[in-house]
């Protein structure tokens, strides 16, 4: 939840205008469509259940998990995390620029978000290739099964994120559209997958 002093509606239906009026009054509101927050909360529950299963299995075979974890390169995990955090920063700037009516800047920041997302995807594929080359595949042991599962399901969320960012770009590009609500909805999705990555990074690369 955020408090915003002022924001002008660009386009959209009655719901969006009502939302903009609430913002103008300084009322607390949910950024973007409240509907997207159902996705955020539900996916948070699903990922929490995956993480819980991972932690339980880890406590049952701590030595195996520690030995296998040592084969991961922490620097790659840190790089992945930084890249995604910067992409989140870019999408936040995109939202801010769209709120201020600077659509050219908003568009540039949306493209920047895509660029950092793409860098993440490439670095993740390279990391997978390196691990497989060293003989650590999906079925090598339980740690690597979780490693490939969690990173792959996150990868899939990120791929969907490109479609979502495409919707944001589509909205920003034409003066006839420019729904601030949709841009914020797309940014909410992107922040969510960024947040999930931070947790995955902590569990797979850092937790000892």
């Amino acid at each position: 939840m955020t408090t915003v002093a002022s924001a002008e509606p660009r386009a959209g239906g009655p719901d969006e205008r009502a939302g903009a009026q609430e913002r103008a009054r300084g009322v607390r509101f949910v950024p973007g469509q409240p509907d997207m927050w159902v996705f955020v909360l539900f996916e948070a529950l699903v990922f929490t259940s995956y993480f819980t299963v991972y932690v339980i299995r880890r406590t049952q075979s701590p030595d195996l998990f520690l030995q296998s974890q040592a084969h991961l390169d922490l620097r790659v995990g840190v790089f992945n995390t930084l890249v995604l955090l910067v992409s989140s920063w870019a999408v936040a700037r995109c939202v801010q620029a769209a709120r201020e009516g600077s659509f050219s800047a908003a568009l540039n920041n949306a493209y920047l978000t895509m660029l950092f997302g793409f860098v993440f995807l490439v670095s993740k594929v390279l990391e997978w290739a390196t691990e497989i080359e060293q003989g650590f595949g999906f079925t090598t042991d339980e740690f690597f099964s979780f490693y490939y599962f969690l990173t792959a399901i996150h990868f899939l969320h990120l791929l969907i994120g490109f479609v979502v960012l495409g919707v944001a770009v589509y909205e920003i590009r034409s003066p006839a559209r420019r729904s601030q609500e949709l841009v914020e909805t797309c940014a909410t999705y992107w922040h969510t997958i960024d947040f999930f990555w931070v947790l995955i990074f902590a569990l797979l690369y850092v937790m000892r």
């Binding site: 009502a18 609430e22 009322v27 607390r28 509101f29 469509q33 409240p34 509907d35 997207m36 159902v38 996705f39 539900f42 996916e43 699903v46 259940s49 995956y50 299963v53 299995r57 999906f138 079925t139 339980e142 099964s145 599962f149 399901i153 899939l156 969320h157 969907i160």
Partner: protein, 277 residues
């Protein structure tokens, strides 16, 4: 419409449930939709009863069982498999009514008819591996328990892999429904249900490792491949049954946006006030 063609509809009787049902049967213009909805509710309850309690094929047994254990598994639920899947084969056709009712929601939307057609075709296919083929394989195993244990193992794997194989169908079906809901301008379902379809679709993806693993959380009986997936699916099914009921109540048989319920309008100011607080 002329006065001569207006049909006089008597007031719904108060009192016994049977009289109310009779009134709905004779006078309710949403009769077919309610039949579809009740078919869905009854079918899902029957599905739970037959698969979980009578045939006892759900929750699924481990894929790592040895052939002798598999023979024992068939033996333990001999009559449950025979009677349970005999009943499944009788009620299996109800899926046609269910799928048609769900496809109707997409026909009521402002989107292309292609969504409803895709949904119908893909879920018609899902009935085969998810119910009928699995049921036939389990019945074949239970019918002659003195078969070679290797053959029983073959039937066991075939039955459960057939069931798992429907997940890709549910994945695409959920995505079709999601896109239809998000593009729809007739407000047939709330947008959050579109996003919930995405959640359901993504949990279908995680079933894929069940084709690779025989043990652990990713096997077909595992915590991730089955238990979490089933929890999401039950939530999703409960939600869509509730929303479908609400949609039928709101249905006006027009082609524009569905009218909102008066009770929802009454909630709006309170909701806004709640947000402001």
């Amino acid at each position: 419409m002329s006065a001569a063609t207006v049909r006089a509809v008597p007031e719904m009787p108060s009192g016994s449930l049977i009289r109310k049902i009779a009134w709905h049967w004779r006078h309710d213009d949403k009769r077919e939709l309610w039949i579809g909805w009740w078919t869905l509710v009854i079918f899902y309850n029957l599905y739970g009863l037959l698969f979980f309690l009578i045939a006892r094929t759900q929750p699924p047994p481990p894929p790592s069982l040895a052939p002798s254990e598999i023979v024992q598994w068939f033996d333990d639920r001999h009559y449950g498999l025979l009677y349970g899947y005999a009943f499944v084969s009788i009620v299996g056709g109800a899926t046609a009514i269910m799928n048609a009712t769900l496809a109707y929601t997409m026909r009521r939307m402002s989107v292309s008819r292609a969504f409803a057609y895709s949904y119908l075709v893909i879920y018609a296919l899902a009935t085969l591996p998810g119910m009928l083929i699995m049921g036939v394989a389990c019945t074949v195993g239970a019918m002659r328990p003195d078969r070679d244990p290797e053959l029983m193992s073959w039937l066991y794997d075939f039955a459960f892999l057939s069931f798992e194989g429907t997940m890709g169908v549910f994945l695409i079906g959920s995505l079709v429904w999601m896109v239809a809901v998000l593009l729809d301008e007739n407000r047939v379902f709330p947008k959050w249900f579109g996003y919930l379809n995405l959640c359901n679709a993504l949990t279908e993806v995680v079933v894929a490792p069940a084709w690779i693993f025989k043990r652990g959380v990713f096997a077909w009986d595992g915590a991730i491949a089955w238990w979490i997936n089933m929890a999401v699916f039950v939530t999703y099914t409960t939600v869509f049954l509730t929303l479908l009921r609400k949609m039928i109540v709101r249905e006006d048989f027009g082609s524009g946006p569905l009218p909102e319920l008066e009770s929802d309008h009454a909630l709006e100011p309170a909701g806004a006030l709640g947000a402001a607080r």
